[in-house]
């Protein structure tokens, strides 16, 4: 049991390796003898951190000059395999991120390889790797494996595995040649904007305080921000209020937003739709405030308060302020 070699797609987040990539490395190490990384950009910046998380080599494209990663990374990997610069791994694993899906989609066409997506666990059935995929908004788990001997591509959801430092040596840096991409490579980033946020990152915070449509109006979201500030927490939101323009998308928790697993998740005026639950039900403790005793959020809450957010929240903020 165990695969010979897995290739993991890594993404940078500022100067560091994104946590999703480190999470995948931890699992990849468990299921394969050799784990190597491929990524856009320069390897020297990340070789130490990647090595420390179990990668022995990192294949890099170098500067992409603003090009989106999908076409460049997938084409470079396929060309390298074709040229015999390196052997085809037994599997590719990427994160369910914007760029991860672009690279996976293009790579699947280049290699005519199928994808198994939204994976939250990987395990062996005999000697084939099987991915667990939550479907119907997380109410059902299906386990899927590839049936051909061709390489397969797994896309893993964030927070499925725990990143782990192994103390491994710095990864070897190898170059991936990016061939002429033709028209496919012509999408270029001309500028980048980050939403201003204070406090911890939503997907890393120990406490998350989220608000939903039950907050009533945009201005009432300030109660969420206030409580988050007092607790050193990150504010979060449902898609309902992101779509309504109360808060930016970067606040969204759920299937099409961020996956969070904090020590405490406080859901205020949130009904608990399956697409929201799938992003937060891995939290260690869940507190829910909702005026409807039938709200599905109560089915996952460790502490449920049936009440009006406009009464409970101000008192909670005041009580914590007075400590």
């Amino acid at each position: 049991m165990g695969l010979d070699k897995i290739w993991v797609f890594a993404e940078a987040q500022g100067d560091s390796v994104a946590s999703i990539s480190l999470e995948i490395l931890a699992k990849a190490r468990e299921v394969a003898d050799t784990v190597e990384v491929f990524m856009a950009g320069h390897g020297d910046d990340h070789a130490e951190e990647l090595g420390d998380h179990g990668a022995t080599a990192v294949y890099v494209t170098g500067d992409l000059d603003g090009s989106l990663q999908g076409s460049a990374v997938a084409t470079a990997v396929a060309a390298g395999i074709e040229a015999g610069d390196f052997d085809l791994p037994d599997a590719f694993i990427l994160g369910t991120t914007q760029d991860g899906r672009d690279v996976a989609g293009r790579l699947s066409v280049k290699l005519d390889a199928p994808v198994i997506t939204n994976v939250v666990d990987l395990e062996f059935d005999g000697d084939t790797l099987v991915g667990t995929e939550p479907v119907f908004g997380g109410s059902t788990n299906v386990k899927t494996r590839f049936t051909s001997d061709k390489v397969g591509i797994f896309l893993v959801r964030p927070k499925s595995f725990e990143a782990e430092s192994t103390g491994g040596a710095e990864a070897d840096v190898e170059d991936l040649d990016v061939p002429d991409l033709g028209a496919a490579g012509e999408a270029k980033i001309t500028d980048s904007f980050a939403e201003e946020t204070e406090g911890p990152r939503l997907d890393e915070a120990a406490i998350v305080v989220s608000g939903g449509r039950g907050m009533g109006e945009k201005d009432a979201f300030s109660m969420i921000e206030d409580l988050a500030k007092i607790l050193g927490a990150a504010p979060g939101a449902t898609r309902a209020i992101v779509d309504s323009g109360w808060v930016p998308y970067s606040y969204q928790v759920g299937q099409t937003g961020k996956v969070v697993k904090p020590t405490v998740y406080i859901a205020s005026g949130i009904s608990g739709a399956t697409q929201h639950l799938v992003g937060m039900k891995g939290s260690k403790n869940i507190i829910a405030i909702n005026k409807d005793s039938e709200a599905p959020i109560f089915a996952v809450a460790d502490l449920g308060i049936i009440g009006d957010v406009h009464k409970v929240m101000p008192k909670l903020i005041e009580a914590l302020n007075n400590r």
Binding site: S71, Q98, A104, N141, E186, I189, E195, I289, G304, I305
Partner: protein, 259 residues
């Protein structure tokens, strides 16, 4: 300007049916509707053609069972016509097989721009748009929250983890649109009546020129080996607020030593 929009027809998410334990596919005997995630692409396309002053919106959809009700909804919104690839052998298709079929049908339309959703509501692999682009040798910009066409260039605000990037891309190109970025119009009565007479070209996989071995279960090269209910979280203590519930929350946070 000719815009092709990929629209998936899916079981109503409010009543998604279930996975058939024998075939391991969704039981599709339920009525299919326009995936809400694709209503944004349709709306975006209609607005872009409006802004351009001329052109049309053409729909492309793939189903195993010649369903058209979702297409009719999008036609009623204002699309001019549609291509429906319908074939029993498409049942069980994976994302790559789907992309191969859609790419062929899209190419036949020679579009200036191809729009899709970022991810469907039922399968949500989120890989089909990039696969279509790669099959067509086109650039792609996924996760668009805003699109403007300036001459032969698409200027896109692309959602990122932290905010957004401005991305520029020559046409023709594939752009996937995130949910909630435009307000899809409701079909008017006139639109609904007109949609009944709009052309829907129905093609089999073979007529399209795709090898049936590359689609459906045969082509998917993956196998579901287990379907099980996800473990449920135990509900905890539920109390009714009598004006002092905040004290219970503070005590709970104290017990967790997070204060």
């Amino acid at each position: 300007m000719k815009v092709v929009v990929c629209v998936k027809q899916i079981p109503d998410p409010a009543d998604p049916g279930e996975l058939d334990p024998d075939t391991k596919t969704l039981k599709r005997d339920v009525k299919l509707i326009l995936d809400e995630s694709d209503s944004y692409g349709v709306e975006m396309a209609l607005q872009l053609v409006d802004d351009a002053g001329d052109g049309e919106v053409h729909l492309v959809s793939m189903v195993p069972n010649n369903e058209v009700s979702g297409l009719r909804t999008a036609l009623a919104m204002g699309a001019a016509g549609a291509t429906l690839i319908s074939d029993e052998c498409l049942s069980g298709s994976d994302a790559l097989g789907t992309a191969k079929v859609l790419a062929k049908a899209i190419a036949a339309q020679e579009p200036d721009l191809v729009l899709s959703g970022t991810e469907s509501s039922d399968g949500y692999t989120g890989t089909v748009p990039a696969q279509i682009a790669e099959l067509l040798g086109l650039p792609s910009v996924t996760f668009a929250k805003e699109i403007a066409i300036d001459g032969g260039t698409a200027k896109v605000k692309r959602q990122t983890e932290a905010g957004y990037d401005d991305v520029e891309c020559p046409l023709p190109a594939v752009v996937s649109v995130t949910a909630g970025v435009v307000e899809p119009r409701y079909p008017s009565f006139k639109g609904i009546m007109a949609a009944k007479n709009k052309p829907v070209e129905e093609l089999t996989v073979e007529a399209l020129g795709v090898d049936p071995a590359e689609v459906g279960w045969a082509g998917s090269r993956q196998d579901i080996i287990d379907i099980a209910a996800a473990p449920v979280r135990e509900a905890g203590e539920i109390i009714e607020d009598e004006g002092d519930a905040h004290e219970r929350i503070v005590a709970f946070l104290d017990e967790l030593k997070v204060l």
